[in-house]
Subunit: 320 residues, 2 copies
């Protein structure tokens, strides 16, 4: 399968810097951002120059490796990077991996290569769930930009397109930062996959009108029971999909599963700057919501398709 | 009850023009728009300089009266105004009223006065449904700007605030045109009512977290069976509210009820310019969705509180 967005274009570790495509400036400009310390990488994660749970894991791993190389205090660098964003399980997981490695730089590069591979595997498993002629709806961005590979939910859609199964992708614009309208649409355009952007609040009536055959989303943290934290707006989408018996698939690497978190109620939800929503009036800006396991048709990881009851079917050996 | 936004400031008929507060430029600028023909009023309605089902009814009535006064062809003026937007029942209803009147100018002014009065009555009925300490969520703008009076759903919240029943209003920003973030927040600020703007997609998790005691919305057309067309995003809100047993109230004048439309499936849904959603990628922009009657706890009009089954309880003598 071809993949227009090369992993090293999304994020890479050069000798003295972590270089990433600055996602805040897409789709208008394709500009690289160079981070020269753990603090600069943490800033890039916090400000969402790089975002998406797997991608911030890779960024943090690269940031840690860079810090060690530069002689920064490793514990301090790790703490700084881990605190950049609270919800994604992959961030802490990737940092544990590089901290435990004799050569953090080699391990960070290996993690990225592994992530590309995991994306390929989960995309293949998830694509096998789709029927020919699928009109899929997705939320936020779960593509190359979010993973450093071909993507999770969007990777599955890429694979489905390559297999001739996909007819069209409906893309929630994903307020307030418009990851759908800016990033997912940009990736789909690059691959020539037919797509239409809609306001988040329009997805409900598209589901009601039978215009959506399935919903695919990524995840930032999956609790041991299958409850899934993902970009704000995922939960209402799952509720409406369930009402119309539209399958709702979560696609994520096993590093997103956190067996230490028993249920969604214990997942910390990041509150971001209200100014991202509204600069003029008081606002609230929760970045994620929790979709209860009962609304999720299947959770697809690189190991395969997991069905309810997730407490029994999810892999347990990761992210702990 | 005081009301900071005077009806004639929202819209009025002067000797040779219809003058309205240009809602496209709020909250940044308070600028009046003067329309000197039926065509100019139709343009103002289409481009949403004036919006909200009751307010566009008043605007159309004023536009028709102005056209007659100027010697325009009355049938042509009426057709032009009625075609400006397809979903709101009040537009056709108001035009029928002024067409049938011996003095259209007097009848148009009277319609506006009656609308102010209807707002007051339905606000009073709806406020009686709220308990002390209410945290309410609302969508779009249903205030003075939408009605020429104190509002429908937002009028009820004003009345609840005056009665000391209201603690806080959560305001959906209402993409793509941000009527909540621009107009509802502006009206609430003017009245000193505590409010918080949220992305439309954040309302779901606020409902799930028990932070919303009831949802109040307006309506653009109510079918004979109670199915209700309202601003896009109303339907998913109603679905999630029902899941959490949060009361969902529709507040609208009887002129919004269209007994000629049997069910929501027959309500024409306006598709607006995709450029309002996204200027860079393909987009879809349905302006309304339909909430089935079964998800609506009560429909409140100036005549009182109507409960299911709406086919039996809704007033029938209007909008036909």
């Amino acid at each position: 399968m071809t993949f227009a967005l090369e992993p090293e274009r999304i994020i890479r570790l050069d000798a003295d810097r972590v270089v990433m495509l600055d996602q805040r400036r897409l789709p208008d400009e394709e500009v690289e951002l160079a981070c020269r310390s753990a603090a600069e990488v943490a800033d890039a994660i916090r400000s969402m120059a790089v975002r998406g749970a797997p991608a911030i894991g890779i960024a943090a791993a690269y940031g840690y490796a860079l810090a060690v190389e530069r002689g920064e205090d490793p514990a301090e660098a790790s703490a700084l990077l881990e605190a950049a964003r609270p919800t994604a399980a992959n961030l802490a997981w990737a940092l544990r991996e590089v901290r435990a490695a004799p050569d953090p730089m080699a391990r960070a590069r290996e993690l990225h290569v592994e992530e590309v591979d995991r994306c390929r595997q989960m995309s293949s498993h998830a694509a096998s769930l789709l029927a020919p002629g699928t009109r899929a709806l997705t939320h936020c961005n779960t593509g190359g930009l979010a993973t450093g590979g071909q993507g999770t939910a969007l990777g599955a859609l890429r694979e489905a397109w390559a297999r001739g199964l996909l007819q069209h992708v409906l893309v929630d614009e994903t307020r307030p930062l418009l990851q759908g309208a800016r990033l997912t649409a940009w990736e789909l355009e690059a691959e020539g996959i037919p797509h239409t952007v809609v306001a988040d609040s329009a997805a409900g009536s598209l589901l009601a009108r039978g215009e959506v055959h399935c919903v695919l989303v990524g995840a930032d943290r999956i609790a041991a029971n299958g409850d899934t934290a993902n970009k704000i707006g995922t939960y209402p989408l799952a509720v409406v999909a369930a009402r119309h018996q539209v399958p709702f698939f979560v696609v994520a690497p096993t590093s997103t599963i956190d067996p230490e978190t028993a249920t969604g109620a214990e997942i910390p939800i990041e509150e971001r700057d209200p100014g991202e929503v509204n600069a003029r009036f008081p606002a609230l800006n929760p970045a994620f919501d929790v979709t209860p396991a009962e609304l999720i048709t299947a959770i697809v990881t690189e190991r395969g398709v997991h069905r309810p009851p997730y407490a029994e079917t999810l892999p347990r050996e990761v992210a702990a």
